[in-house]
Amino acid sequence: MELFASLSLIAPEIVLALSGLVLLLVAAWGGDKGARVISIAAAIALGGALALVAPSVCAGASGPDTVAFGGQFRADAFAGLAKLMIFAAAGAALVVAPRFFERAGAMRAEFPVLVLFATLGMSIMVSAADLVTLYIGLELNSLAAYVLAAILRDDERSAEAGLKYFVLGALASGILLFGMSLTYGFAGTTNFGGIAVAVSDGLNTGQLFGLTFVLAGLAFKISAAPFHMWTPDVYEGAPTPVTMFFASAPKVAAIALLARVTLEAFGSQEDAWRQIVIFAALLSIVIGALGAIGQQNVKRLLAYSSINNVGFILIGLAAGTLAGASAMMVYLAIYVVMTVGSFVAVLLMRDADGNPVEGISDLAGLSTTRPALAWALMALMFSLAGIPPLFGFWGKFVVFQAAVEADLVALAAIGIAASVIGAFYYIKIVKVMFFDDPAGTVTGEGDTPHWALLAICALLISPLGYLLTGWLGGLADMAAASLAVAF
């Protein structure tokens, strides 16, 4: 009976795992010819998993009923909301990928399968209630991601990205594992609930070291400064649909995981991790903003932009309150939409022969040659910069509201002042598109699915998005509340 209850809680993961395995067999025997069918099947599997998760999010599932396998796994509303975002981002990657790879003549049947496995890994990550579950999910995701980065085998940049990602990712995993073993050694348990009890009357040195290493390892995964160095190279080298996937889904997963580790396992030792989080947040904001200024490649620029955004999300975490966790989830939801939109816009940048172009200077005068793309990209840039009335502002707003309510006014003031530096390069893109004379590079036609996805993202981040604030805020509040009901 216990087992059956546990299995029903991990139904979305079972759907993903089984469909991933079946599709892997299909891919092995069917070859690359069936890539398109496998993509569609994988998207259906994601849709099924999404449908299975949605009820628990809407109902705000929390408490002991959500704990599976004796405290290893939690399918609460917080995990559910993160899963919704992850599945949606993975679905978007599946939608855009076939067209991109077919143009390059390199559509491989493994791609959708790997996306499914990566998604499964992230799904396990966000539901982890135990360090071991955490590590299994993280590694499942990472191993699939390394291959994804290098999936364009003939492309040197892609291979380089895969290798870099693997080496640095393995290092991060090592650091994380070291931190976990220290934590286990000094807390006597790998269970988050158990750790929370063990550290409730103060951290000893070993536990503190464990916490620090765990945070450092996770900071790698969310590409927060000072562990951000791999991000621009990997984002630039990986094929654009893969980059889009990297920039959206794993961020959600790792940040949700980070929130769970800090707020659940080390929730009573706020002061110990808060300074680390604040440091990483401010450094990410500043480095993300300054690093982007000199970039010539749109994908590198978006990589720095993602570092910058992670900084703002961490400000919500630094608040260390339920409102902060809720604000983080709202920010993540908006961030996923903005990221997917930006990378789809990059996918739509093609020269007359249909080859992808990625240089910022190629965007010159885009507003006269391809006005729809230019206006959408402008909305995305202003939204990423957090200028109202675009919806990106709301993410920053709730995060800073949480920080102010937690009496971190100075942090909020410094963070928001640093966001002005970031605004510089976002408006630079707008300047290139709108003020400069046409370069005439981006003239090729885009694909319909890409346009459709861009239209959806643009609509969501337009001022109409504010109509969603009540609904989104409600879901995020319930998700954060479920986080508080620890064991």
Partner: protein
């Protein structure tokens, strides 16, 4: 007006127009934009006609529960009414001024202007703190595009400077707003205007708001974005920038800084006085040596805004009324002056003062109107600026006579640079053959300048029309400030000596 949501309609009309313009050809876009702004002007007249002077403080209120965390709440008092009137009055003129001057990407241009109108009305009508902030900040986007796409040679630098300067000013205000809402537990501006924050907190909040409004105003030394933005913006952009956008800072002071933080306002009065005195004198001197007409007028705007801030921080009714009147008058006059520059710029494509001369000979009608606006800028009695400047100076004189003394020299310098400008352009020899061959005003230009000239004279001769709707609100603000107001050094005794002049004037004004 019953339940008719007139403010929402005033926001919706230009918004729909803006979206339409994006998809239209040049000719149709111009017509749509003109139509939308004229409808808004008509609605504005209806608004003013139905505004109940002496009635409720907040009228035409609307409320809708659309968002989480803040409310869609609109409503106006007399101060907001007057500034909305200024906006809707200037907008059709801006569209008219761009009728022939803008030939590339007309649809996008008109859309950006209509969007500006939406946001400006929104700023003045918002009754929710965060709704205000969204409207306030959103104005950056269309203005960035207007300067950057349709500006002059150095437009990109100017656009960057405008954007980043004003953004940096505003984000700190956002943090202050978040803190206030957290403290007071409401986002409603009318409630917050009566909420008493602790004096220590007021200091920080005041500084954060000051960072934003001082940049928007602009006050010396953070005014440097203004000349760049003005010079590079197209004529209509300058008109809207000088006419309405600069008023956002003053509106911010009168709506937020003064009523919400009266103690801190009094505490920092010296700072505002000092910066304003420097602004008035220094920027007037800078204006005197400009070779570029638009730059000259831009610097004169900074000087006039110095008078506004002095009036606001005089902590008495005259000062506040004067500040409001200077804002309205300056909105009209500087807008008109930029239009006058635009008229000859369209003909000769240069803003160099020395390229013109003796225009009174070949453009007599232009010279007459330009003369009127020059005199209004100087503050000649009978024109709009006289009323405002006089009241402001009378107000600040009660607070501190030395400040009033320094500020008055600014008025004298103002006369110097404006008359010097006028002499070099309209009088003297006709040195340049091309300038001498320029035709006089066209019908379109008459239609642009005529209404402003009428409004300038109306405001100068019978300012009561404009002061009446604001009086109750300004008195309310004065009572709110009374407890904190610093004691003046003038110790005026009514009815004796020099103040008699002020008395006499007040009789005229009220």
């Amino acid at each position: 007006m019953g339940g008719f949501p007139i403010l929402s309609v005033m926001l919706a009309v230009p918004l729909v127009g803006a979206i339409l313009c994006l998809f239209l050809e040049a000719r149709q876009a111009r017509m749509v934009a003109l139509l939308a702004t004229l409808i808004d002007l008509a609605l504005g007249v209806v608004l003013w006609a139905n505004y109940d002077i002496g009635g409720a403080q907040w009228q035409f209120t609307e409320r809708a529960d659309l968002f989480a965390g803040f409310e869609y709440a609109l409503g106006i008092d007399g101060i907001a009414l007057m500034l909305i009137m200024l906006s809707v009055f200037l907008m059709p003129i801006c569209i008219g001024a761009s009728w022939e001057a803008i030939t590339k990407r007309v649809g996008e241009y008109m859309a950006a202007f209509l969007l500006m109108e939406v946001l400006m009305i929104g700023v003045f009508a918002a009754q929710d703190l965060f709704l205000f902030y969204i409207f306030f900040e959103a104005g950056l986007i269309p203005m960035y595009l207007i300067i950057g796409i349709w500006g002059g040679q150095n437009r990109i630098y100017a656009a960057y400077k405008f954007f980043l300067y004003t953004l940096l000013g505003s984000v700190l205000m956002l943090i202050a707003m978040l803190w206030m809402v957290n403290q007071a537990g409401t986002t409603s501006i009318p409630v917050l205007m009566e909420y008493n924050f602790a004096p220590e907190a007021q200091t920080w909040l005041w500084l954060a708001f000051f960072a934003s409004f001082a940049v928007k105003m602009p006050m010396w030394p953070v005014h440097t974005w203004l000349p760049d933005a003005h010079v590079q913006a197209p004529t209509a952009g300058s008109v809207i920038l000088a006419g309405v956008l600069l008023k956002l800072g003053g509106y911010g002071f009168i709506r937020f800084s003064l009523p919400m933080f009266p103690d801190a306002s009094a505490e920092f009065g010296w700072l505002v006085w000092g910066l304003s005195m420097i602004a008035v004198v220094l920027t007037s001197l800078i204006a005197l040596v400009q070779a570029d007409m638009k730059k000259l007028i831009a610097y004169s705007s900074v000087a006039h805004m110095g008078i506004v801030t002095l009036g606001l921080f005089a902590f008495n009714v005259q000062g506040l009324e004067g500040a409001m009147m200077v804002m309205l008058g300056h909105g009209l006059v500087s807008g008109a002056l930029f239009l006058c520059v635009g008229v000859i710029y369209d003909r000769l494509h240069t803003r160099e003062i020395s390229r013109y001369g003796g225009l009174a000979i070949n453009m007599p009608a232009y010279a007459v109107l330009f003369m009127l606006f020059t005199m209004a800028a100087v503050g000649l009695p009978g024109t709009s600026n006289f009323v405002g400047e006089f009241l402001s100076l009378a107000g600040i004189y009660q607070a501190n006579s030395w400040v009033a003394f320094v500020a008055t020299t600014g008025i004298i310098l103002g006369a110097a640079y404006m008359l010097y400008l006028y002499r070099r352009i309209c009088f003297g020899e006709q040195k340049n053959a091309d300038a001498a061959a320029m035709p006089d005003l066209s019908l379109r230009e008459y239609l642009l300048l005529g209404p402003i000239a009428a409004a300038v004279l109306w405001m100068g001769v019978y300012p009561e029309s404009f002061l009446a709707p604001m009086r109750a609100d300004i008195e309310l603000l004065d009572t709110r400030l009374a407890a904190a107001a610093p004691e003046g050094d003038a110790h005026l005794a009514l009815g004796e000596g020099p103040p008699a002049e002020a008395e006499q004037h007040e009789g005229e004004a009220h």
